[in-house]
Symmetry: C2
Subunit: 339 residues, 2 copies
């Protein structure tokens, strides 16, 4: 297990994959960023204020880059990938705005959450605006299969978020429930991002499927790593959002794996801490001790590595290319974040 | 002015138009209702619970009926109107769920608002789910002009709601601002509802435009009447939601018209009451006295009657038919609600 961890945590491998992705998509991303800014415009001041605050907060823009690189794999790009990439980023940002309201978050990407500045009300409505704009950008391409992919993703993501909400603090949440939640709320958008990219590249149906599978498995790995990072990651390093999932009562993999092995007292401890918005550092540390006692972070990371490997495996359906190598490296990058 | 009012308040004219609309669309509405229920399904229990609670609460379903009757006007229906009608109703219900969160509403359609039972969080997310499902139903028809109409409506509605929010308790809100708000938040969906109905009927471009104009003007009349009803309507009859707009600080036409004529003390009174969530019955009555002193409800109703007349005028572009008569009567009905 530790050898897996150390191979994934090799800092050089990690950053070079991301750097290559950024470089390969730089020109297209300029067009995407321009489109994003123009579609966040409105005569209603609060709309661009909130949209730009969120958009410019410095997210990685991994999803739109995945759309662009997936289109780039093929020689016959339609140009639609610019609209799809912007739409995917808008869908993601709409979800973030609504998630922050749902989770009552204080911070997002190291800055106060939009809802703390403009209020829950504006966050809900500007999220709706971004979702509407995302659909408009998709419709403009006139490509119905891509429209189907993205609109169905919107419904599935919301459904996954409701499922997650309904399972909050529910100690009987299973490993399978968790997989279903992250599949819906995270992997669906990654899958849609790579699939519509392939569609914009006029890829064959088999190639679209390969990139869709890559996106889905990557998304699963990505979310598990996020959930591990919320407990400090492989090194137990505590960041500014550490412990949010526990306070929000989210039944993530580290908690589920720990509960499966916990004794009565440990279970009682986790139960009392889950969803306790006032849980202090000591409570968090106590829960983290149970989690680490049962290797729940390491087992979670192993799981993420497996999904990252599935993502890489899906790429073998595609001809070898520099682009394919970048995608393979990104699968490593997504897990390496954890170390 | 009073003669206009009494003609609009004639109870027989009123209900017969609505009854005729219900009868004319009954068969199609069965298909729409079945589609609505099937698309509100989910393996996540809370989704159909909330969706059905809202959908079955007994709204008039005016918007989907308008879509169906607009398609019915033409002999060459594609069948798409069923999907559009269900999508329009889902968009409307998504807006209601989010509005209740934004307005912190206690009640909706005479029952506790969904957010009071399942919480704000679930209301936000199930609204998102309904929006996603609405887009899926539209995409299934494969009709791009209709998709453009409905997706652009989604963005404009949200933008209008943000504008309304940004103007809350703002005494400088103008008549023009108000018109812009209700145009975006209400008339846009009415316009989209009738326009996509005409598209499903394979109407000519001029006919589509006539029905779009009808829908927009009807929507304006409808919203003004809603805003008058919030101050008790023409008779000052107090219903269960009366005063909500005042407590929420909404700058609706009755308030704007009253402020334009109010003296210093009256302005101060309105200012202190607007947005005061704890405003009592006496405060409301005092504000209502200012509103009635300056005939603000009657002038508002006159304005609604003008829009209803515009709606009827737009119909003259269409050949006379039983269907056209129903639409004309519905314009009367929407204003007659106020009496």
């Amino acid at each position: 297990m530790s050898s897996n961890l150390s191979s994934a945590s090799h800092a050089t491998i990690d950053q070079s994959g991301m750097d290559a992705l950024i470089k390969a998509t730089a020109t297209d991303m300029e067009a995407v960023n321009a489109l994003i800014l123009s579609r966040a415009e409105s005569h209603v001041e609060m709309v661009p204020q909130i949209a730009r605050y969120l958009i410019e907060a410095g997210g990685k823009r991994l999803r739109p880059m995945l759309t662009l690189i997936s289109a780039r794999m093929f020689s016959d790009e339609t140009g639609h990938q610019i609209n799809y990439a912007a739409a995917v980023e808008f869908m993601h940002n709409a979800t973030l705005l609504h998630d922050d309201v749902v989770d009552e978050s204080e911070m997002r990407r190291g800055k106060p959450a939009a809802r703390k500045i403009w209020g829950n009300q504006a966050s809900v409505l500007v999220g709706d605006f971004l979702l509407g704009q995302a659909f408009m950008m998709m419709v403009e391409t006139g490509d119905l299969p891509a429209l189907r992919t993205l609109s169905s993703a919107a419904a599935i993501i919301a459904e996954g978020e409701v499922f997650q909400l309904s399972k909050a603090t529910d100690l009987s949440t299973s490993d399978k429930d968790y997989l279903q939640i992250i599949n819906a709320k995270t992997a669906t958008l990654f899958e849609a991002a790579t699939k519509v990219g392939a569609m914009a590249g006029q890829a064959s149906s088999a190639q679209q499927q390969a990139l869709a599978t890559y996106g889905r498995e990557l998304g699963l790995a990505f979310q598990i790593v996020d959930d591990v990072l919320d407990y400090g990651g492989a090194n137990g390093a505590l960041g500014k959002n550490t412990g949010d999932d526990l306070r929000e009562g989210k039944m993530t993999l580290p908690i589920i794996l720990a509960l499966a092995k916990a004794d009565k007292n440990e279970t009682a401890l986790i139960k009392s801490a889950l969803g306790d918005t006032k849980a202090d550092q000591k409570t968090f540390n106590d829960v983290l001790n149970v989690i680490t006692k049962y290797d729940a972070l390491e087992i979670s990371i192993e799981r993420a590595l497996k999904y990252a490997q599935n993502a890489r495996d899906a790429l073998t359906e595609l001809p070898p290319s520099k682009t394919r190598t970048i995608l393979a490296d990104i699968a490593d990058y997504c897990v390496a974040r954890v170390s």
